[in-house]
Amino acid sequence: MSAPWLAIDTATDLASVAVGAPPGAQSGAHVQGARRHEIVQLIAFALSPLGLRPADLEGVVLGDGPGSFTGLRIGWAAAKGLVQETGLALRAVPSLMAAAAGAALKLDPVPVAACFDALRGQVYGALYVFHPGHVETLVPPAVMTIPEFADRTSVRPKLVVGDGAMRYPGEVERWSGAAPVPLESLPPLAAMLLAIVTREGAARTIDDVLTAEPVYGRLAEAQVKWEARHGRPLPDSPGASR
């Protein structure tokens, strides 16, 4: 990839964008969650110093979630609006993978876990090893407690990053033997999306841009309750498999 790509991540409380020819980022910007709705202004802010318009891009790489439901929709709605008219390529990378990459790319290929706070005592978690040409997913993104996460794999992570890890530091230290790493000490996730988008095993290509949805990580609460009460899937539900 030699032409510039735009990266967008809004899965966490820090919404970020970056522009560059992967794996490098030439420009970027980020805002705190309360201003996530200004994502288009952020994109304009990142593109304008490079003299670029959306149509000049080769594609958009997007944080796929899981994470904040509202945050994910903001990033995805912006990406759909950018891509629909221009026909730009659209790829999605798990936001947890981008967070793990922020710590892992400075290290040898070692297992690194990422955890976002999913409330109710749970985290959205995943475990990766970043090899020079590809990303190995040891535990794919799922919602669970830290002990449940540890039970899913015999591999002990070298590091555990993210606000979910920071929320349960004792459990994380017992599992990994290291203190959790906050997201604030890592590069913005959008820059990491650019850094890994070309690696095998990192991205999914979005073919149907019009109807695609992020990986929310959880069903809506009302849907969970309805399905538990009725013992069958909710009819006409969007993204029921997610």
């Binding site: 709705h37 439901f69 709605a77 609006g81 695609a212």
Partner: protein, 353 residues
């Protein structure tokens, strides 16, 4: 002035896009297309689930916009401006439309205008009737709002009265649930009320004989008591539906008539989802005969739809207004130009008609 405006509406559970074609010197633009996708997922809940609504909007909106452009026979290059509902409504649902609209506007170098959903409803009849314009009295009745407005000119809205508790459409939904009917409640109650005896249940008409304000929660409680007292709800259901509908519509139309008499305006506009009720339109026409013309948009323009948003946006763009990339969605977005009653001297005298 924008020639072609793309409208987007995602404030609740309808995903909608519309294309209006206007141009310089055109007094009123023409509706080139309107696509409305209703979200069926909420029916089993008897009301809208905000998170499900937001997810469904994200999954459906780009395809709905594609179809609206195709039905208008226009490509992206023809679109000059994007008008999007910025509130009031469900904030998560609104955000999908607002952010998507901003991205479309930014990508194509288009004007962007955030539109108030209620102002959209005021403009709905004007989409079909270019001659319709102020001054008029407007009764906006939906699941979220019950407002009586004095509209001397576009953009200036004097509040005459509003509901103190439930919106009229909300009362219809809740009573439909009490009666074991489906969602949305208004059409279900109207359908079954046709078979009801109007004399079987005479329910209270709250606040009918005073002022311009509304209250429907007591009426809803009266239905609850009647349901509990009924020995055979299957038998009494149509009569209760009839009694409830008659009571709500009597209150609404009585206050509308009072407002028309107080203002002396020649036109009364009905807007919002409850205005899809043919019974309401017929009652208003009957009671205002010889007093004012009753303007009601067709049902697809009274439901939440993007044509009314594009039309209101077209008006605002014509004034030179533009939104920037900081446009946000607001659940409680105030109606622009809304004037509250300052004092009794400025309020039309609320005498009984």
């Amino acid at each position: 002035m924008a020639d072609v405006v793309l409208g987007i509406e995602t404030s609740c559970d309808e995903t909608s896009a519309a294309v209006l074609v206007g141009g310089r010197g055109v007094r009123s633009p023409e509706l080139a297309s309107l696509v409305i996708l209703s979200q069926d997922v909420h029916q089993v809940f008897g009301g809208v689930v905000p998170e499900l609504a937001s997810r469904a909007h994200l999954a459906a909106l780009p395809r709905v916009v594609d179809r609206a452009l195709a039905e208008a026979g226009l490509g992206w290059s023809a679109v000059d401006a994007v008008a999007v509902t910025a509130g009031p409504g469900l904030v998560g649902a609104l955000l999908v439309g607002v952010v998507y609209a901003k991205a479309l506007a930014y990508t194509g170098g288009r004007a962007l205008i955030g539109v108030n959903h209620l102002e959209g409803h005021l403009f709905a009849p004007a989409v079909e009737d270019p001659e319709l314009g102020p001054p008029f009295v407007a009764l906006l009745v939906s699941g979220g709002h019950t407002l009586l407005l004095d509209v001397p000119v576009w953009g200036r809205y004097r509040l005459l009265g509003a509901t103190r508790d439930d919106a009229a459409g909300e009362a219809f939904d809740k009573v439909a649930t009490l009666l074991g009917l489906g969602y949305p409640g208004g059409p279900e109650i109207e359908r079954i009320a046709k078979h009801g005896d109007p004399a079987r249940y005479t329910l209270p008409r709250p606040m009918r004989d005073e002022g311009f304000e509304f209250s429907f929660s007591g009426l809803k409680t009266s239905v609850l008591h009647a349901v509990r007292a009924s020995g055979d709800l299957a038998r009494d259901r149509p009569h209760l539906a009839r009694g409830f509908q008659d009571a709500v519509l009597d209150v609404l139309v009585t206050k509308l008539e009072r407002a028309v008499r107080a203002t002396g305006y020649p036109t009364a506009v009905l807007g919002g989802g409850v205005a899809c009720s043919r019974t309401l339109a017929a009652l208003a026409a009957e009671r205002l005969k010889g007093l004012a013309r009753v303007a009601v948009a067709s049902p697809r323009l009274n439901a939440d739809n993007a044509a009314m948003i594009a039309r209101a946006g077209w008006y605002r763009l014509g004034l030179g207004e533009r939104s920037d990339w900081t446009l946000d969605a607001r659940a409680d977005l105030p109606l622009p130009g809304l004037e509250w009653p300052a004092s009794p001297a400025h309020t039309p005298h609320p005498t009984s008609p």
